[in-house]
Symmetry: C2
Subunit: 379 residues, 2 copies
């Protein structure tokens, strides 16, 4: 094998669905001295991460921690914790990530009741409540808060209010929402939520912050069918919160340092201020896109600020536009995931990129590239 | 919540069972520009990582890649791939990590046949072969190559030779062996091996390098009971090797950069040279320990160079010694995992720490601390 060079990637402005760019001080946090995962100094760092995650999730009961996996691992862990094989799960879906919940719940052996809406629409709360009325045995109602595949926000606060007096647990995918728009785990009655580090929290990818309600923790203790060991939330809570003598696995110590730094930054800015910044950047982008006659995928009123899906205009080769944005401007935007769904671009303004300047940069780059006849579909 | 400080851990010399210290250039690799996980430049980096892992595992067929999880995730994925519920798995165990295979195989629903040896002993090859003779329906024979809980090497090369003409797959935990002692996946007939990044490969913790034989890949394609999605090796191979339109999850991009840098360093040094360096450091440590009358846990002939378990001498408080090593010398060594098994210390000399200087440093520190009467058990 020839000697390989050190990785030297071209700088990118990551204006797609994530990962987003990471602030230098958050990358630098990973240069701190490596501690062992059983060192009491590391335990103290975990305590702080857990506490900050509780604040960011607005969870003042229950427990919050971060899995040593990405967001998809957070979904896997939540389903394994709350649904046993043969039990019913109601899943609202209007896009790729709702479909992913369906797929993973099926793999867990759940009897899945799908509540579907078209891509670009939200999943109506009443449809989910109706499904629960028809399937009162359901253990879980699951929904994506912010679907990265469509840019749509599902009204979790409404759903939580409707489920408050039922026995069904509310499981929410907060991968793209946490740190970018409001999430209120306690007030909305979220039993289990999972997120990622690389979107609106602004850390590198690699961990999945989760939060559990007290009744979800009780359900886990009562569970008869053990989950995969790596995603066993009871054992993970023992390591993260109880201690000592609770070795479970070796945590990605430097990724924990980065998450700690990112959470400090989120809380230093203030949650409302951070949501407002994401809202302002998204509004600026939308307004510029409307001016140019672009059509957005999301229905009005449910558009996320941090992720905007635009229909690729007639006669334009969407992939060619992305390639030229990357080459000429060093800008990444997203395509439809695995080629599924309508022809769209997905523009993300998350974390440090949630600014008016970034909104203007991406629109100017789009203007430039669309001006080039090589992105037209051959007639 | 009060404003928290940035993490500022005390520097440690990590002479325990891992993580080990990471060379500065490997930490610095994580400062390269963050790429998206679907960027073709990132795909090229994955190709290089996959190729280098094949070289390090000495796998010239099959496929090698790294899971976005720690070593425990690598075990979870391997068992889910190769054993279906109700099938038989033969597991050799003589310590914590063999017991962990037993536990995870049981969770997968396997019928587990345990082949036990006492802590400090290796698992005899003939006992495993006998178990397979009595259980010819077994789909998997699993063993730990280098058990971090005892410092014992199991003779995987012998076992592989015995299994060569059987249908049973050989699954091997290479968490503590890869990069420190020889692993030859092809020659030894290993169907599935998993490792970690934070021990003899010398990267930060966070990924699990795995390797699959071609017949293991075929078994996975034929598998009826789907594994957990996060650990679905067929989908992961599609993302790592095939492409495009194979989004599975967002990889921990910076951890991949670090792994790339660590593998470059391993191959730049040369595998035989690296094994020799670990052997020399381990031999130096053993000799100094013998001089001082310490008793090693491992039986002669099966002692790992990279991890040495010492019995805590009569009248000494093992925990107090560890605490003083940490306080006075900034040195971490390991205790029995979760308090299980005999009273031992575990000294690791792995990656950059596999040097004569480190061996001398840890022994001198032990001398100093044991001189202090405060580490004696109260009479």
């Amino acid at each position: 094998m020839p000697e390989l060079n050190i990785v030297n990637p071209t700088p990118r402005r990551l204006f797609g669905p994530g990962p987003t760019n990471v602030a230098p001080e958050i990358v630098d946090a990973m240069r701190a001295s490596l501690l062992g995962h059983l060192d009491s100094e590391f335990h103290a760092i975990l305590d702080e991460v857990s506490s900050m995650l509780g604040t960011v999730y607005q969870r003042h009961s229950g427990v919050s921690l971060a899995l040593s996996a990405t967001g998809t691992g957070g979904l896997e862990a939540g389903l394994a914790a709350l649904v046993e094989p043969g039990e019913t799960a109601i899943v609202g879906t209007a896009g790729f990530f709702g479909d992913r919940i369906v797929e993973l719940a099926r793999r867990r052996g759940a009897d899945v009741v799908e509540v579907r809406a078209a891509p670009g629409r939200h999943v109506p709360t009443e449809a989910l409540v109706d499904a629960l009325g028809r399937n009162p045995q359901a253990k879980v109602v699951a929904v994506v808060h912010a679907d990265t595949s469509t840019g749509v926000r599902n009204p979790v606060e409404e759903l939580g209010a409707e489920l408050r007096d039922t026995d069904a647990m509310l499981l929410v995918d907060c991968v793209t929402s946490l740190g970018g728009i409001e999430v209120d785990a306690d007030d909305w009655g979220i039993d289990y939520a999972f997120s990622c580090t690389q979107k609106c929290l602004g850390a590198p990818p690699g961990m999945s912050p989760i939060t559990l309600s007290d009744r979800a923790r009780q359900r886990i203790r009562d569970c008869r069918r053990e989950p995969p060991f790596y995603f066993d939330l009871e054992l993970l809570e023992r390591y993260w919160v109880d201690r000592p003598a609770a070795y479970h696995h070796t945590l990605p110590v430097l990724a924990v340092y980065a998450l700690h730094a990112a959470l400090r930054s989120v809380l230093g800015e203030g949650l409302p201020q951070r949501w407002e910044r994401h809202a302002a950047a998204g509004a600026h982008l939308r307004s510029a896109l409307h001016e140019r006659g672009f059509e957005l995928l999301a229905e009005p009123g449910y558009q996320l600020p941090q992720l905007t899906a635009i229909r690729v205009p007639e006669g334009i080769d969407g992939r060619a536009v992305q390639a030229r944005l990357l080459e000429r401007h060093g800008i990444e935007i997203g395509a439809p995931l695995n080629g599924a769904g309508p022809a769209i671009w997905r523009i993300g303004l998350m974390g440090v990129n949630a600014t008016i300047e970034c909104a203007e940069t991406v629109v100017a780059a789009l203007d430039d590239v669309l001006d080039d006849e090589r992105v037209r579909v051959a007639a």
